[in-house]
Symmetry: C2
Subunit: 504 residues, 2 copies
């Protein structure tokens, strides 16, 4: 298709690439032969049958027992038939309902969804330094995540530590509903908080109970306590979200050599067993409940015991998990991230290495794809911007390229320029110069002299300008003011009534 | 295979991974359907037949003419039969002879070879700043390239501008023969210099004329002058290296939107045509002469005209070139690199993005895989180190992982640890803790407190320590002192006789 345009006939076309509905174009990579993946799956089933899962929530133990599992105190021994039935009823495609249908997000094998770094107790930026996460940080982070189209869903973000724990879920839900229209997140911190969050979201979205139950309007992330333990709030979250038809993303967080076996094969087998146990609990609670398989497995540094990310082991663990996800046919999440203490070259290299592991593993959801430092202890505003540059470029690769006759351009380019000439004025160039290339948000192509004259500012310094401009612009989705008033009334009433403390 | 070992029975095993003989484990990615690749190939042949190549060296024009090409002044019109014959005689596997057989390097589809950043007029580091490349820089750079096993061949490196041009080839050859035993590089700057370099290398390696001619003992890189021009020293280099049985790596350097069409398909079609013309010249000179296909294509920033690297266009251009290389069945080189002006997050992200393009394109040789800044106007010592961390991790991925019963570890790990326990003392961990994980050269996993106490140094600052330690250690290969003396005598005689000026 030619994009030829008349000169002076209106503004030039601008580049428009859909960063929201991405399909993974990268060929999936295997780290192990298929028979070894089958052996790992079989060993995970054996682990659940013979070694069992420790389940700290009595209600969850009873669900397993009623379904026929052998139970000895808090140990649950889950048979492979029960797991196979759960895999059979778990949906293979899940569409999360956002504030606008255009922002709905579909999770299935082949789709590609990014989240910014999540769950950090601290925030950091070059203007204000590293500090415990605050309400201001949470709202700013939400605005940054809203700004970049390549983040298709919200993440657990940064912890607003200055908001009392029994009121924090009101604050985070209000922020996610008013500052963005992307698919929102809820922490599974006990039934009272979760139920209130469901109510706020249902009413603010203006949907009926039935419609809310029919489509996930929010999601949580479930971390097992490796090895082989499902704690009270996590088990409760799996049950509560499944009952309500809302989405759980199950993610054992397994560090090879510490809380998981030292080998990729061993750690991913453990992670797989734990994920299957959690998925089984959701399907026993409500067959067909939306649940996403997942893993987050990297290695520790064996000298210090410190977690490492973006390592060869992390990369291979993502590949193995992807093979197991395809083995059971479910959408799944993986994670990038960095262990670095600031947004430096290490942070960039680790995050991108972990990202390519996820991409080549065919991950449906990539969490911590931007901004995550210190193995998750802080999120960096500058790193959100610089990592987003990489994610945008990956999104551009998802869009692909064409090689039709117009693009090969024998007439419009190749034969239009003499030897040693230039293509600046070739017809093909004139047609496309405004739309052909990705325009960076923070990368700078100025030469050394110009760059020096402009202050010799590195990418992190320039990223500061970018996030400050985004926060200054403060672009928010349109909201229904009646529903906003009702939301604020609800929060005021519940706050007055004492809020809802987290459970553990 | 169990690596169980007796306690106290000698030193613990250390991790040993072969970084020299790498095979690319990443599934090749296609950017265009096969029929479009065939169309691009066909358009490249049509370009050579109908539009022709401008060839500035009369000897080269005569070679083409004698083979049947139509010639009009300096324009050579190359028929597709002649190209097909060249592709048929070009070797599909080439082994470059290094100073030791263990350092020989094999170039074929499937092998993976890295070179540090090359051809830079400037060097830069955090201790001494940015400066014109010097003899000292050239020697230091050679030592750094020698140190890291993951660089399997030498590169054009940094230009020693303080060495007179008519003596520079003595200096660079002496440095490459004495400071490293890796496969060395020669600039094609005219027959006199090239012939002398061949002599120095043949004699220092202690091989006969016949043995030298039978195996490439050195190589050059041939850049066409896009569009469609082959200048005097490049054409001469192709002829001289082919006659001598030495290796040419043919690399049109095509910037989309400037010296090449603005589209990936157009630019790579032009690059392909130029590479085929150069390959044809080598095979007309000497059928079977070692030659490597190549491309280096990225886009300019259309606002400023400045070159950009590590962009989506760069990535896709590598993919397209890889498809064309497989289409004609020849080993090929591609390139990573960065446009950034210092070793910052942009530099890291650009280089790694470009690298993944090369890896997924199945490139045999990845040039500029470390250290390249400013689009090649400088090389950074710190960036060599930080990029090398990434290359090492890629080499680790090439080694793969196992998922045998020992690695899955039902007995030695999974069943040996209770729920909520840890694997630090599991038998599997005890067997492997010293050898399981890659140990970084510059990445730091210390937590924020410890890292702050140690001076809060970023990756570039730590990389300074690394390169300084390598230069201080000054590890060199053993040399034959008689041959070294002869080399120095040769250089003294030739210098006395006036050296050999470069030709252009």
């Amino acid at each position: 298709m030619s994009r030829r345009r008349g000169r002076g006939a209106g503004p030039p076309p601008s580049r428009a690439v859909d960063y929201h509905n991405l399909r993974n174009p990268f060929p999936p990579m295997a780290v192990f032969p298929e028979d070894r993946i089958a052996a790992m799956h079989d060993t995970a089933l054996r682990t659940l049958e013979e070694l069992g899962m420790r389940v700290l929530l009595r209600e969850a133990v009873e669900i397993f027992r009623r379904a026929g599992a052998r139970v000895v105190e808090d140990m649950v021994f889950i048979g492979r038939d029960m797991v196979a039935a759960a895999i059979a009823t778990a949906p293979t495609s899940i569409t999360g309902r956002a504030g606008r249908r255009a922002k709905d997000v579909t999770l299935e094998l082949g789709s590609l969804v990014f989240q910014p770094g999540a769950g950090a107790p601290h925030a950091t930026d070059l203007k204000r330094g590293r500090r415990p996460g605050s309400a201001r940080d949470y709202r700013e982070y939400t605005t940054l995540a809203h700004h970049f189209d390549v983040f298709q869903m919200m993440s657990p973000s940064v912890e607003p530590q200055d908001v009392p724990p029994h009121l924090r879920h009101y604050f985070t839900t209000e922020a996610q509903l008013t500052l963005t229209d992307k698919f929102p997140f809820i922490f599974a911190r006990g039934t009272p908080q979760v139920t209130e969050c469901f109510e706020m979201m249902r009413d603010f979205r203006g949907v009926s109970d039935a419609e809310f139950a029919a489509h996930p309007h929010t999601y949580t992330i479930i971390n097992t306590n490796s090895p082989r333990t499902l704690d009270v709030p996590m088990a409760q979250g799996l049950i509560d979200f499944a009952k309500a038809g809302q989405l759980s993303i199950v993610t054992p967080f397994t560090l090879m050599g510490a809380m998981a076996p030292i080998t990729v094969a061993g750690a991913i087998t453990l992670s797989h067993a734990e994920a299957l146990a959690a998925i089984t609990l959701t399907q026993l609670t409500r067959p067909g409940a939306p649940v996403c398989y997942g893993t987050f497995t990297s290695n520790v540094d064996m000298k210090s015991g410190a977690p490492a990310f973006g390592t060869p082991g992390h990369f291979q663990a993502s590949l193995a998990a992807g093979q197991l996800a395809r083995h059971i046919g479910l959408p799944w999440r993986s994670a990038a991230g960095s262990a670095s203490n600031l947004n430096d070259v290490q942070a960039a290299n680790e995050n991108q290495m972990g990202l390519w592991g996820c991409l080549m593993a065919g991950a449906t959801v990539v969490i911590h794809s931007a901004g995550w430092l210190e193995g998750g202890l802080s999120v960096s505003y500058e790193k959100i911007v610089t990592d987003c540059e990489v994610l945008n470029m990956v999104a551009e690769l998802c869009a692909g390229a064409q090689a039709g006759e117009d693009e090969i351009g024998y007439d419009s380019a190749l034969s239009a320029v003499d030897p040693s000439g230039h293509f600046f004025a070739a017809p093909q160039t004139m047609d496309r110069y405004n739309t052909e290339f990705y325009e960076p948000i923070v990368h700078d192509y100025a030469n050394f002299g110009t760059w020096t004259e402009r202050g010799a500012r590195d990418a992190s310094a320039r990223a500061t300008d970018v996030w400050q401009a985004i926060l200054d612009a403060d672009v928010r989705p349109a909201v229904d003011h009646a529903r906003l008033g009702a939301l604020h009334d609800y929060i005021a009433r519940r706050t007055e009534a004492g809020g809802a403390p987290p459970e553990s």
